[in-house]
């Protein structure tokens, strides 16, 4: 077995030490830092992108919340305006109606007064008609014309009865 020849060991070990040592330094100083930095850079980039995405998502959510709040406020305002309008309209209508009621009441009172007056006048006429009729009837019956004052007294008493 050539492996067991001690004379061949020294050159192998010396060159193993040289090549392994050089390779170790090359890996340590050049190759590994390069690979490591690229991997780290990529990890940092991915983390940064994820963070940016997260931030964008948060911003969107904030904007959405703002929009919804504005919408709610606008709805409330619209509601208030409608309420106000309705109240104003109601007040106006009520005022109008009250005025109308008042006018109608005044008119009906006036009419009632007129009717009263007319009734009074009519009553007065009835007295005079009744007095005349009574004078006529008395003259026809007894041939004597009664005095006007007596007649009036009698008619009034009769009407009261």
């Amino acid at each position: 077995m050539p492996q067991l020849n001690p004379l061949d060991w020294a050159p192998q070990l010396i060159w193993l030490a040289i090549t392994f040592g050089v390779l170790y330094v090359l890996m340590l100083k050049i190759a590994l830092p390069r690979i490591g930095s690229v991997i780290e850079k990529r990890a940092a980039k991915i983390a940064g992108d994820l963070e940016a995405a997260e931030k964008a998502k948060r911003d969107t959510e904030e904007a959405l919340a703002g929009y919804e709040q504005a919408l709610a406020e606008a709805k409330q305002k619209a509601h208030a305006i409608i309420e106000e309008g309705r109240a104003k309209l109601k007040a106006e209508t009520d005022a109008e109606r009250a005025k109308l009621d008042q006018e109608l009441a005044a008119k009906s009172a006036e009419a009632a007064a007129r009717i009263e007056k007319a009734t009074e006048a009519a009553m007065k006429d009835i007295n005079s008609v009744a007095t005349d009729a009574a004078a006529d009837i008395v003259r026809q019956l007894i041939g004597v014309a009664p005095s006007k004052a007596d007649l009036e007294r009698a008619v009034t008493a009769a009407r009261k009865a």
Binding site: Q3, W9, P11, Q12, W15, L16, F20, M27, R34, V38
Partner: protein
């Protein structure tokens, strides 16, 4: 690659053409021969640039260039190569995090280098005419011993002398303790052996099998060689799996040993 095959050929000539004994079949162990491509000596040590060293350099270069090429843009949306680089990064990072915890991430560069180095050496070994560095116990044991010593140092550095409690199982009758402590210490000391032999034996056995069946293809000729060839194709697939799996096992066991040192059970 011509000069490598030429080197193999010349080496082969020295060893009698790489043919074992009188069987007429190629020696399946010949592929594991260490060949000095550039003889070199430093401070009295043999530091020759061998075929093993060549493939270690190739592996280190392939890993580095592939990583640099993959990450040349460093784009946010990765391309094909960058995906592979990032997947390996995260594969090993998760392995360390799951098995050692976040404080183990300090050792992530080491585990990453270890995993990719062993994986690339195993995979390069699957290329025909190449050399499998991890099929040598010297290499795997050196790695395992380095890990073993390092992990033990980390354990003592983190817990001080209290790290010795690691060898004393809790909730055991007092009378049993001496025996169990001895077993625990032995099992701890065998870690580098099992770690290195697992990788080395798997790689060596696989490549030997491939070589043996490869020679069967030739020996059995047009008539019977097809069966051996079909087996080889299937076995190559299995070997690719083993190449990955052993690198993974090597790395994950390192993580587990590291976890023991940092957190003690």
């Amino acid at each position: 690659m011509n000069w490598i095959t030429a080197a193999y050929a010349s080496e082969g000539a020295e060893h009698g053409g790489g043919h074992g004994g009188g069987t007429g079949l190629p020696d399946p162990m010949h592929q594991f021969e260490i060949m000095r491509l550039i003889p070199l000596e430093i401070f009295g040590f043999d530091a020759s640039f061998t075929n093993s060293a060549l493939f270690m350099v190739i592996a280190a270069a392939v890993i580095t260039l592939a990583a640099l090429f993959a990450m040349r843009n460093g784009s946010l949306v990765p391309g094909r190569m960058q995906s592979v680089a990032e997947l390996s990064y995260q594969f090993v990072a998760n392995m360390v995090r799951d098995n050692v915890g976040t404080e183990g991430m300090k050792y992530f560069p080491f585990i990453f280098t270890l995993f990719l180095f062993v994986l690339t050496l195993n995979m390069l070994g699957m290329v025909p005419y190449s050399f499998t560095v991890t099929s040598h116990i010297a290499v795997t044991f050196a790695l395992a011993a380095f890990i073993f010593i390092g992990v033990t140092v980390i354990g003592f550095w983190k817990h001080g002398i209290g790290f010795l409690k690691f060898f004393v199982p809790s909730g055991v009758p007092f009378i049993m303790l001496p025996l169990l402590v001895v077993i625990e210490v032995i099992s701890y000391l065998t870690r580098p052996v099992s770690l290195s032999v697992r990788l080395f034996a798997n790689m060596m056995a696989g490549h030997t099998m491939l070589k043996v069946f490869g020679s069967f293809v030739v020996a059995l000729g047009l008539l019977g060689g097809w069966a051996a060839l079909a087996f080889m194709v299937a076995f190559t697939g299995l070997e690719l799996l083993v190449a990955f799996l052993q690198a993974y096992v090597f790395a994950i066991l390192t993580c587990i040993y590291l976890n023991d040192a940092l957190h003690m059970h």
